[in-house]
């Protein structure tokens, strides 16, 4: 990856939650890089810390219980962690936007969708009056394929897919440079998912937006992303270009994920699941977080802090046995 072209770079981010006197280690030293105009897919299972990373970049984690312990989030050369709250207000929804997982709850139920889009437009372009902002909001609605006349309706009058379009219109209304898409299609049906993904892709290309796409679905990554990072228990275990990860997965977890997936073009009698369960984030194992489930685990996996190893140019893997396991 060309370091000069990096637009988003997250360095050593650590986030913890406190709940009922327990500390939940949600994000444990995550680093990510994303180039201008490209899409990075962040893949991981429930509770791996994906959403927390996105919310940390925007600094909208509720504090308490969440606390950003350390790390930088550099967007376009500026560290978000150093910004004042006032500066962040200008950045949120303007330079960086976010699409949320559940369109059913992400919209304010008692404001019309037009008002909600106009709100973000007016916030970031103070020169507009109410009418102009509303007119622009109607344009944004048309952009995502909703007739402008529906702008006066309330969220409950829209279906799930339509709501997600509204959420996307809201996120893209002020041409953000960075889009954080948190499972944007998980709550939707496949045919609607296909519509939404291709629409996001098209709008992103048109506006040359960089996108961090958070998902648990490897298929979605395969179709939409340029680069991929795999996250497990709050740590990036493998990162690289899409080709690196899909053609030459190196970390046992990534390999296991692919093996556990039923495939459309292969006949298999039984799947190969990863044994066990994801660890409780308040009681993470020592050493490699994956070792209790890993079939290649050795003694050294259990005690060492495992560093990222570059297996091929741009392809990193957090496994101390990666060189021994190479086929």
């Amino acid at each position: 990856m060309d370091d000069n072209n990096v637009f988003l770079s997250v360095n050593d981010l650590v986030v913890e939650y406190t709940s009922d006197k327990k500390i939940i280690y949600a994000v444990n030293g995550v680093s990510l890089k994303l180039e201008k105009g490209k899409t990075l897919g962040l893949v991981g299972e429930t509770g791996a810390g994906k959403t927390t990373i996105a919310k940390s970049i925007l600094r909208i984690l509720p504090d308490p219980p969440a606390k950003i312990k350390s790390g930088q989030c550099i967007v376009g050369g500026e560290d978000m962690m150093q910004k004042t709250e006032k500066e962040m207000l200008d950045i949120r929804g303007n330079k960086i936007s976010m699409i949320f997982q559940d369109p059913m709850t992400a919209l304010n139920p008692i404001m019309t969708v037009g008002e909600q889009i106009a709100e973000v437009i007016k916030l970031h372009d103070k020169s507009l009056n109410k009418k102009q902002a509303f007119a622009k909001a109607m344009d944004a609605l048309e952009m995502v394929g909703i007739k402008a006349e529906r702008g006066g309706e309330f969220p409950f009058q829209f279906s799930g897919g339509m709501k997600q379009r509204v959420v996307i219109a809201m996120a893209l209304a002020s041409n953000p440079e960075l889009l954080l898409a948190d499972e944007p299609t998980t709550a939707l049906d496949v045919t609607i998912q296909a519509q939404i993904l291709s629409m996001i892709k098209e709008l992103q290309q048109r506006q040359n937006t960089s996108m961090l796409l958070i998902t648990h679905d490897l298929g979605v990554v395969a179709e939409t992303c340029d680069d991929t990072a795999v996250i497990y228990a709050g740590e990036i275990v493998e990162s690289g270009s899409k080709e690196d990860i899909f053609d030459h997965p190196a970390h046992p977890y990534t390999i296991g994920l692919f093996a556990a997936l039923p495939k459309l073009n292969e006949e298999t009698d039984r799947l190969n699941p990863i044994k066990g369960m994801t660890p409780d984030p308040s009681e993470l194992p020592e050493g490699c977080k994956f070792h209790p489930r890993c079939e290649f685990a050795e003694k050294k996996c259990k005690c060492e802090q495992i560093p990222m190893v570059e297996v091929s140019p741009g392809h990193f893997c957090r496994c101390c046995r990666v060189n021994e396991l190479e086929r």
């Binding site: 299972e45 897919g161 496949v190 609607i192 490897l218 692919f258 039923p262 459309l264 799947l271």
Partner: protein, 316 residues
Amino acid sequence: MVPVIEIKDLAKYFSVPAGKNLAVDGVSLKIERGKTMGVVGESGCGKSTLGRTIIRLYEPTSGQILLNGEDVSHAKGAQLKKARENMQIIFQDPYSSLNPRMTVEETVSEPLEISHKYKSKAEIMDKMRELFHRVGIDKRYRLAYPHEMDGGRRQRVGIARAIALNPEFVMCDEPVSALDVSVQAQVLNLLMDLQEQYQLTYMFVTHDLSVVKHISDHISVMYLGQLVETSPSKELFANPLHPYTKALLSAIPSIDIHRPMQRKILKGELTSAINPKPGCRFAPRCEFATESCSAPQGLQEVGTDHFVSCCRINEI
């Protein structure tokens, strides 16, 4: 051989403020012993209602349900009880399918107690231990409550409850949709193992096409309460005929990055089956729709066991 489940022209309508919701509307299919019928479709297409009507959680509006050849569509009393013991269900959401106030043991032993097939507490305990073993729950979880377990384990408890009375037919309502990929594979394998060991007959309802392909022998595609295509699993994926099936298959995000799928993006959204017009319900979203599509449609055989409901099938 008599199929374990055969339904003929089954319909289930719900009254809603806006009229009638034809959730299931004239569906016929059969499932042979030890086989799996996959039912796919998008949310709101009536696939769950179909399954729940078959196992008699809902009273069918019309049509027949034959369990081993016996008509149970309006069974009552003892006959219904017997039928229900033979037809069980595994739910989608492992969080809401277990009573949060009951321990694993209570949940699994409840059907055993109600059935009165076991004479003593000891027999029930024995049977329960066997069930735990079959579905792979450590017996230390016996006294745990659902909130103390993760999704995968809860789903295993749900499976144990479903197979407790040795049913022949199990309706699986999206049993792995709520689970993470790695756990999903564990549960799918368990379901297939159980099928093999006990000759279970499954109806597997899901929206995930790769899962349904993996587990099913036969697949039915539903759209707004009706079957649009039904065929052996391999045949369906090799040779989808209905325009909706084609769109559905092409919409699956594939993990093969070198051979991207030719994407067919459907316009419009799944509406609802409330007061539909006669004719093909997919027509408003179909690129091939013509006037002839507004006439009532029926399934026609186009190959061995391969049925399609589309009047323009030969033209496209």
